[in-house]
């Protein structure tokens, strides 16, 4: 058993940073509120640099529980980056509207560890505990605005339903353990490859329950009901975090679990994921049309996005997985850009109804432009990240024989454009009585600029990122021989992956 503790240095540092932040928050609370976000973001940036040293190291596993490979490294960087951005975006919001800043930032950082181990875990119990670490932090954070009834309501619903879904998930895990006799992904894979004998139904039930549990995490229909309430009730930066980190972590777990453990029984679960994907994108996008609150709109849009991501799992191939991670990254950048703008607008005006965005182009032209870029990207318009990543993802999905799903996804992208355009129309065409320019702090503007540039970079020149996701995904896929075994049936495709 490998017990090389140096593999986990980034997580030690994160835990230490969380402790320091919480401790600092206890002294001189007033000033701590102001400087803590910058301490957190600075620390996170440093840890991000540390995690970069793990690129192309490994794959090394730690006690058979977690694996440090390019996949883990990719998600480490992504999650730490997300948390850093959310910390910066929280600065003014937390200072003006929340108490206990130390705990707020500390919990955010702790939850990042959970997210990372969801991607890194290669053993069912570890993955489960990591998921709970993320979830428990989020239950608290969603209801962090103690005086706000909506925040309490959202947090309570999220926690109770979360407990329900955890129960489902755990029950699923135990069924799989019963079938495979092990909780390690590799052993499960081996056991399933050898056939499950009389345990076919038990395995199917296990898969259903596991999918339900993770489906809750990524807010896939019909396990999505908590999302709109939690998104609306949570403090805005936490909504951003929910839509970015929590969803990405769910996908990361799902992708590793289903490739490393469940790939041999692909045909048994493909239809389940495909069905959830189809239901999520359709329902999410249709109901989004009816929303009049920007947070709920983004909640439903993120449900629709969960559908696109599940599609990549349903079409599981190395190519599809790589494009899925690419799409996920583009989505995270875009969504954060949208949320940072929404937060900046809320800080300046205290409003979050779509109607309040009327005439924003005059009051804050830069915010309006950035939000437009982000929304166009979410809809998948060319030039922006969303187009490039969706195009590659849909193409990979179509190639795996799920043409109907890809077609549905295209139709849904079209529907999504409609409600995004409604927001853009308010900002540019709507007239407003208030002519006062909104003041946006320079730091926030800088974050927005960085994210918008990211949206364009991914949209126009996705090649470097694509290479990175490719390397990441390559780590979780079984060896080529096993892959060919699974590929028989589909056409002997030409080497689907570049750069090797």
């Amino acid at each position: 058993m490998n017990l090389d503790y140096s593999l986990l240095i980034p997580e030690y540092l994160l835990a230490a940073l969380a402790a320091v932040v919480i401790a600092l928050g206890l002294y001189d609370t007033r000033r701590a509120r102001t400087y803590l976000p910058y301490v957190s973001a600075g620390g996170l940036a440093a840890i991000l640099v540390v995690s970069l040293f793990y690129i192309n190291k490994g794959p090394l596993d730690f006690a058979g529980l977690v694996q440090i490979d390019n996949y883990t490294t990719f998600f480490r960087v992504l999650f730490i980056g997300i948390t850093a951005v959310v910390c910066l975006a929280s600065a003014h919001f937390v200072r003006d509207r929340l108490r206990h800043a130390g705990e707020y930032y500390g919990l955010l950082i702790l939850s990042t560890i959970g997210a990372i181990y969801m991607a890194a875990g290669r053993e069912l119990i570890t993955a489960y505990i990591a998921m709970e670490l993320l979830s428990f932090s989020l239950y608290v954070l969603v209801s962090f605005a103690k005086m706000d009834a909506k925040s309490n309501e959202g947090g309570m619903k999220y926690m109770l339903l979360g407990a329900f879904s955890s129960a489902l998930f755990l029950y699923g895990l135990s069924l799989i353990y019963g079938v495979a006799g092990s909780t390690s992904y590799a052993d499960i894979n081996a056991a399933l490859s050898n056939g499950v004998g009389d345990f076919g139904i038990a395995m199917l039930m296990g898969l259903v329950l596991i999918i339900a549990g993770i489906g809750f995490k990524v807010s896939a229909v019909p396990f999505h009901m908590w999302a709109p309430d939690a998104y609306e009730g949570a403090p805005l930066p936490i909504t951003a975090y929910l839509s970015a980190a929590s969803k990405a972590a769910g996908v990361a777990l799902l992708l590793r679990l289903f490739t490393e453990a469940f790939l041999p029984v692909l045909s048994d679960w493909r239809w389940m994921i495909a069905a959830l994907a189809a239901a999520s994108m359709t329902l999410g996008n249709l109901v989004a049309i009816q929303q009049h609150n920007i947070k709920r709109l983004l909640a439903y849009s993120s449900i629709g996005q969960a559908g696109f991501m599940l599609m990549g799992i349903a079409a599981l191939s190395e190519m599809a997985a790589s494009t899925l991670v690419l799409h996920l990254t583009g989505y995270v950048i875009t969504n954060l850009a949208a949320f940072v703008v929404v937060i900046a607008f809320y800080n300046a005006s205290g409003k979050d109804e779509i109607a309040d965005y009327r005439g924003l182009a005059e009051r804050a032209p830069f915010l309006a432009l950035s939000l437009t870029v982000a929304l166009f990207s979410l809809a998948g318009m060319p030039l922006f990240a969303g187009f490039a990543t969706k195009f590659l993802l849909f193409q990979a999905v179509a190639k795996e024989g799920l043409l109907w799903l890809a077609a549905l996804a295209v139709v849904n992208s079209l529907i999504s454009l409609y409600y995004y355009l409604l927001v853009i129309k308010q900002m540019y065409v709507g007239e407003t009585e208030e002519k006062v320019r909104l003041r946006v702090p320079a730091g926030v503007n800088a974050v927005i600029v960085a994210l918008v540039i990211g949206v364009f970079v991914v949209g126009l020149y996705p090649q470097p990122l694509f290479k990175a996701t490719d390397n990441a995904v390559h780590a979780v896929f079984p060896t080529t021989a096993a892959k060919q075994a699974h590929d028989t049936g589909s056409s002997p495709s030409e080497s689907p992956l570049p750069g090797r």
Partner: protein, 632 residues
């Protein structure tokens, strides 16, 4: 800095364009200096690239183009590159584009002063320079096509610069739509080649074409479609109608885009894809035929037009036609020599006309006359340009005309040669006419005459520089001159199709060309000298011919008739179908259905947690039941 870094040459103006579009209005002087600085830098960088190229050539051996660039997207076997290549052909085009762009931008500093959209003008100029430089450096059809559309867009924007004026807006639209017809051809041609070879990369495609890997029918179609693209951009018959109207744009734009650079993109494209044309029999004949028709129609119309810029525009059409004839003879050397020298004297002609217009606000030659007294420098350089266009020895225009005649004489049949000779005569005639009408004789309009004055230094400097080049640029055909510049020899030994061509003079051909030019100039003096009465008399004697020419062979009217009676009628039916059936029923119907289903679905979100949990349970049960049925 060498050929590997050639991508910097378009990248710098592109960056400038980006900055100017976004922040131009906050910069001092609206950022005009940035635009000029960027193209100036590109022009300087060109010399480094040229130096590197001549070094490579001097090392001897088989020189093939130097490629650089990087991958843009790669998915499986599908690969798009942003790739650049430098070879002799690209070098000549780089020289022309970067130098003329620089001259025109400097000139614009004076010409456009006080313009309402001054900053925007320079932003688009930079964008154009970036697109045009990319076009000549692209090593694959896709990038070339991007750049191709880019210059088209800039052309559209600049022709319509004064878009408050209806005629300018119409002209911009006409230019855009007409060239689009050709562009589509280029795109389809490139896609056909991609389908059969599996790459957009030009050199690979050429190799495949030479070795016969491409299906002949495919290749023929692709070549003809590419020719269509070239014809659209280079305003060849029957697409030529957009070019004279494009004169609605500011004059520096006409000099840059519609004389020296963009319109020769078609010539460049045919020269670049010459390997294809040589593989498919008969395509070069098509190129020649197109060139001949264009040359003749435009020369004839040049005789009767009275708008100074339009006459120059017709002379551009005339030249472009001649370039196509040179290409039809399979001679890249002659075509490129023509592009090279033509750029200088045609830009000079336009900029000098611009100087006249800038001073007098008048474009009609019938209102001018005697301006030489008021603006001697302008008159001198304009005359120089006109004589060069006419092909007077030893100006730049003479050398390319001589080379053209020689190559036509040797490669085409005698009728083509004779036809070109006749066009030489007509060209000399109408260029002389233009000079006489504008600058000599008595002022026809006192008001215009009063206002005429020489331009300021920003405008005068490019005029003089181009004037010098109009005299000397033709000498690049000589070995000695080429060697002085560090090239391996004369122009023909630098740019060539198969093997270096040494400059030759065929006494008979040269003598007949000189003679015809002199006859033409003399004829010009005879008909349009003094009050131009003899010309009027001829016009009155042949009223049908005169009005045929004045009305541009009625081609505009014919196109208009087709648009009104055919296109618009069909469009009307389609539009009705679209409005009523597609839009009201189909689009609005589905939209309403979509919205309504969203309305119905939103009620599933009740806000009550037991319902939420119930739905989750239902989801699990449904999945489990299906799994149970499927699994057993």
């Amino acid at each position: 800095m060498g050929m590997e870094q050639a991508w910097l040459i378009p990248a710098i103006p592109a960056a400038a364009a980006g900055i100017l579009i976004l922040f131009g209005k906050y910069l001092p002087r609206k950022g005009d200096w940035l635009s000029v600085l960027a193209i100036g830098t590109s022009f300087v960088l060109f010399f480094f690239v040229l130096h590197d190229l001549t070094d490579a050539l001097a090392r001897g051996g088989e020189f093939t183009a130097v490629h650089s660039g990087r991958e843009w997207v790669r998915i499986g076997s599908f690969n798009l590159r942003i790739g650049f290549q430098v070879d002799q052909l690209a070098a000549v085009m780089l020289a022309v584009v970067s130098f003329i762009s620089l001259m025109v931008q400097v000139y614009s500093l004076g010409y456009m002063k006080g313009d309402k959209r001054y900053g925007w003008y320079f932003a688009v100029q930079s964008l154009f320079a970036a697109a045009m430089l990319t076009l000549v450096l692209a090593d694959n059809f896709l990038l070339l096509y991007f750049a191709w559309e880019g210059v088209g867009l800039c052309s559209f924007l600049l022709i319509g610069h004064y878009h408050e004026r209806r005629s300018a807006a119409e002209a911009a639209k006409k230019a855009f739509i007409t060239t689009r017809l050709g562009d589509v051809g280029l795109l389809i041609g490139a896609i056909l080649l991609y389908r059969s070879v599996g790459t957009f990369d030009m050199s690979t495609i050429f190799d495949a074409a030479r070795s016969g890997q491409i299906d002949h029918a495919y290749l023929t179609a692709a070549v003809l479609l590419i020719l269509l693209g070239a014809m659209g951009k280079s305003a060849q018959f029957p697409f030529h109608v957009w070019l004279p109207d494009a004169m609605e744009g500011p004059t520096p734009v006409s000099a840059l885009i519609h004389a020296a650079t963009m319109v020769v993109a078609g010539v460049y494209l045919v020269a670049r894809t010459m390997p294809h044309f040589q593989v498919v029999d008969g395509t070069l004949v098509a190129v020649t035929a197109v060139g001949l028709i264009t040359t003749f129609m435009s020369a004839a119309m040049g005789l009767v037009m009275t708008d100074i810029k339009r006459v120059v525009a017709y002379s551009t059409l005339n030249s472009l036609g001649l370039m196509f004839i040179a290409l039809g003879a399979g001679s890249v050397t002659v075509a490129l020599l023509y592009v090279f020298t033509h750029a200088f004297f045609k830009a000079l002609l336009f900029l000098a006309s611009g100087s006249v217009y800038h001073a007098t606000d008048e474009l009609e030659v019938t209102q001018m006359g005697g301006l030489a007294k008021k603006m001697p420098v302008t008159a001198a350089v304009f005359t120089l340009g006109a004589m060069s266009m006419a092909g007077l020895v030893p100006l730049a225009g003479f050398w390319n005309k001589d080379e053209l005649l020689l190559s036509t004489f040797e490669n085409h049949n005698i009728f083509v040669y004779l036809a070109v000779l006749v066009s030489v005569l007509i060209t000399a005639l109408y260029m002389t006419r233009l000079v006489l009408l504008v600058f000599t004789g008595k002022p026809r309009n006192e008001h215009v005459y009063e206002h005429a004055h020489e331009p300021g230094p920003a405008m005068k400097l490019p005029l003089l520089l181009l004037g010098v080049l109009t005299v000397f640029a033709g000498f690049v055909v000589f070995d000695g001159v080429g060697r002085l510049m560090g090239l391996p020899g004369g122009f023909g030994e630098f740019v060539f199709t198969h093997e270096p061509e040494v400059f030759r003079i065929n006494a008979g051909v040269t003598a007949s060309s000189i003679l015809l030019v002199l006859v033409g100039i003399a004829g010009g003096f005879y008909f349009w000298g003094g009050a131009a009465e003899r010309a009027k008399a001829v016009g009155e004697k042949m009223p049908q011919v005169y009005s045929l020419l004045r009305n541009k062979f009625y081609m505009d009217d014919a196109y208009q008739w087709v648009i009104d009676r055919v296109v618009l009628v069909v469009a009307g039916v389609v539009s009705w179908y679209d409005r009523v059936i597609v839009n009201d029923t189909g689009v609005n119907g589905t939209a309403d259905a979509t919205r309504f289903s969203g309305f119905l679905l939103k009620f599933h979100e009740t806000g009550l947690m037991p319902n939420y949990a119930l739905l989750m349970t239902v989801g699990v049960v449904v999945l489990a039941v299906i799994a149970f049925i499927v699994g057993t």
